[in-house]
């Protein structure tokens, strides 16, 4: 395991600036998630580190050494792709052992066996080691694919949306498992996704990427609670943050230059029937919580509420701000 440092990394494909001035340090043993929409430059970043693409400018250091001239195989990275690709003619055991059998590794048969079984236990596939890899469910195949990366103990794991092809339930299970395994092994991991829940739940630090630029890096709590700009604020949180004109609701203390107020559930106080300035439009019942769809003037807001809160569509409510977020005309956060 090792630190990975990216400095001023830039990459262009024809007319498209895929990546511009990217600076990011991933500490030894850290789980970093790059979050952004399709085309933001996330996958390009992984491919540059892996050596599958060459940067136009900038520097990549793995464990303190500049890897610019090294071939992918020399860089000591393991890549897990979105689509698992196992060797169909091999068993689960053989698939897991394969990366260790390269002659340059000079591992003994006992050492290989020990590592394969240890990793199989971690990804919970140890009961199917003798199965053909083609006779597994989608979730099991992806566990094997992740396991095959884990046996190697490289300097860094690079993962490109490895859970996105799985169904929701399995994805939720593997999220928890992957995070645990990473902590157990002390691995350094760079993971890219467009799913905010994956980023929030697994990352030690999240990097928000948009249009080839890294907009903010921080812990999930920092990024959620203290976003640097409107774009970052809008990336995280369910329901989506409410973006309102500065003078719509009382209770705020907007600093000079405020153009937009950002209000999440925790920034809104609701009192039913008193000095009403808003109305309940409709209620989305999600079981554990309700989403209240509220109309205030010409604006629509969505906020979370306890399902047992006595409130109905058409009710008039008083809506007040409590320490919301303020943004200027350029979308930058004001404090």
């Amino acid at each position: 395991m090792a630190d990975v440092v990216l400095r001023n990394l830039a990459k262009r494909f024809g007319d498209t600036q895929a990546l511009a001035d990217l600076d990011l340090s991933i500490r030894d043993g850290e789980f970093v998630v790059l979050l952004g929409p399709t085309g933001a430059g996330k996958t390009t970043t992984l491919r540059l580190i892996a050596g599958l693409e060459r940067p136009d400018s900038g520097r990549i250091e793995i464990g303190g050494r500049n890897v610019a001239t090294e071939a992918p195989a020399e860089r000591d990275v393991a890549f897990v792709f979105q689509q698992y690709s196992l060797y169909p003619h091999m068993t689960v055991y053989e698939n897991l052992a394969f990366p260790l059998k390269a002659p340059v590794r000079k591992l003994s048969a006992e050492e290989i066996d020990r590592r394969v079984r240890e990793v199989a236990r971690m990804v919970r596939i140890d009961h199917k080691l003798e199965n053909r890899s083609t006779r597994l469910s989608g979730g099991e195949m992806q566990r094997v694919a992740i396991g095959r990366a884990l046996v190697r103990r490289p300097a860094i794991y690079l993962m490109d949306e490895p859970l996105s092809s799985l169904d929701a339930k399995l994805r939720a299970e593997l999220r928890l498992e992957l995070k645990r395994i990473q902590k157990e092994l002390g691995s350094t991991l760079l993971y890219v996704t467009h799913d905010q829940v994956e980023a929030m739940t697994m990352a030690d630090r999240i990097g928000i990427v948009a249009e080839g630029r890294l907009m903010q890096v921080g812990t999930p709590r920092e990024i959620y609670g203290n976003p640097a700009n409107l774009h970052v604020a809008a990336r995280l949180g369910q329901p989506h943050i409410n973006l309102l004109p500065a003078d719509l609701l009382p209770g705020g203390r907007p600093p000079a230059g405020t153009q937009t107020v950002g209000a999440r559930t925790e920034h809104l106080d609701i009192i039913v029937g008193k000095d009403a300035n808003a109305e309940i439009d409709w209620i989305e019942h999600l079981g554990d919580q309700n989403h209240l769809h509220i109309r205030a003037g010409n604006h629509k807001l969505v906020t979370l509420a306890d399902p047992y809160l006595a409130i109905a569509p058409g009710d008039r409510i008083s809506l007040t701000l409590r320490d919301p977020l303020y943004f200027d005309a350029a979308g930058q956060r004001l404090s």
Binding site: L176, M200, Q238
Partner: protein, 365 residues
């Protein structure tokens, strides 16, 4: 608009029973979600209502009229598959008006109806634009406009949002429901996504192996699941189950879980000793050092407003949804306390809920 009544509907494909004797009613203006995994019979049910499949037995009534063997075109319904099939060489106005043109409606009337539909969908400012230059959301709105412009008796939708990415799906879920709030069209919506069903539907039919396991409002299905299958399918994370073996007596107000007394809603049925499961929703768990029911934190997932903490207990992994203001260490010992009024009990063999006061409580407004 109209109601849809289904009586003992059954469909067999050779020896495979796709839908077993389903009966339900969708009232005029109601939004019903048929929810279940692939192969559960939800799409077959929808296709029978549409007239794209004929049932093996049973009846389908649309607005009181028996349409079981009517052709699809004679049923006055609109079927929405994926919302993306537009005529690329036509502008927005012509795409929306097309179904009326093929009905032979007068030009002025088509124009008026297309404009009214566009206003309803808030796309009246792009009526004269070409559809090929539109963003994804506007394309979907145009496709939806083409379905609703005919004002059919009901809408049938088969996973219309299935191909969208998560963030955009959320936007369209809200738009579809708000559209429904404006036009109140009777709607049957097929999905495998419990979140979509919960967010949009007035009623949900949860299906499994061709059988409707439970039919009710989203709140009923969530709070009072009839079977373990439903309890597990609905909710994210789903309901926790803690298995134990015991008998039950009518009037009991507690159970013994690993030697610990746990208060539950009053039991309304005697049961011989058998394998049971205590069902606990993640948000009905609190951490309390005073509780005898203990476990070690396995992992926690921060979600902004709240967090989901997984705890390893002798009865298995339990997920709790708690406020986000406290951080947990892996391995930390915690005590678990349940909200007794909200607990469900299940017979593991049949999967059915044990009758208790939970299921008789009057509904919350």
């Amino acid at each position: 608009m109209a109601d849809i009544r289904i009586e003992n509907l059954r469909k067999e494909f050779g020896s495979f029973v796709a839908v077993q004797d389903s009966s339900f009613t969708v009232h005029d203006g109601e939004f019903l979600a048929l929810l279940g995994p692939s192969g559960c019979g939800k799409t077959t049910t929808l296709r029978m209502i549409a007239g794209l499949e004929l049932p093996s037995s049973g009846k389908i009534y649309l607005d009181g009229e028996d349409v079981t063997f009517n052709r699809a075109s004679a049923r006055d319904i609109a079927f929405v598959f994926q919302l993306f099939a537009l005529y690329p060489h036509m502008n927005v106005r012509k795409n929306i008006g097309f179904p009326l043109l093929s009905q032979g409606m007068a030009k002025a009337e088509i124009r008026a109806r297309a404009e009214e539909t566009a206003r309803l969908l808030q796309i009246d400012h792009i009526l004269d634009r070409s559809v090929s230059g539109l963003a994804g959301g506007d394309r979907q709105r145009v496709a939806l406009g083409r379905a609703i412009v005919r004002r059919p008796k009901c809408f049938l939708m088969d996973e219309p949002l299935g191909t969208l990415d998560a963030e955009f799906r959320e936007v369209m879920v809200h738009e579809l429901r708000e559209l429904h709030n404006r036009i109140h069209a009777t709607t049957v919506y097929v999905t495998h996504d419990q979140h979509e069903a919960m967010a949009m539907a007035d009623k949900i039919a949860v299906m499994n192996h061709g059988v409707i396991e439970q039919f009710g409002t989203p709140q009923e299905i969530y709070a009072k699941p009839a079977t373990m299958y439903v309890a597990d399918f609905i909710g994210s994370p789903p309901m926790n189950f803690m298995r134990f073996t015991s008998g039950l007596k009518s009037g009991d107000r507690s159970i013994l879980l690993d030697g610990i007394d746990v208060a539950v809603p009053e039991i309304h049925q005697d049961m011989a000793e058998s394998e049971l499961a205590l069902g606990v929703r993640p948000e009905h768990i609190r951490f309390s050092d005073a509780s005898a029911l203990r476990g070690a934190v396995y992992g926690s997932e921060y979600l902004g407003t709240n967090q989901v903490v997984a705890v390893e207990t002798p009865g298995g992994l339990i997920r709790a949804r708690v406020p986000a203001n406290r951080s947990f260490r892996i391995g930390e010992r915690v005590g678990l306390e349940f909200n007794p009024a909200k607990l469900a009990l299940f017979d593991c063999r049949s999967g059915r809920a044990v009758p208790s006061s939970l299921y008789q409580e009057t509904r919350h407004g």
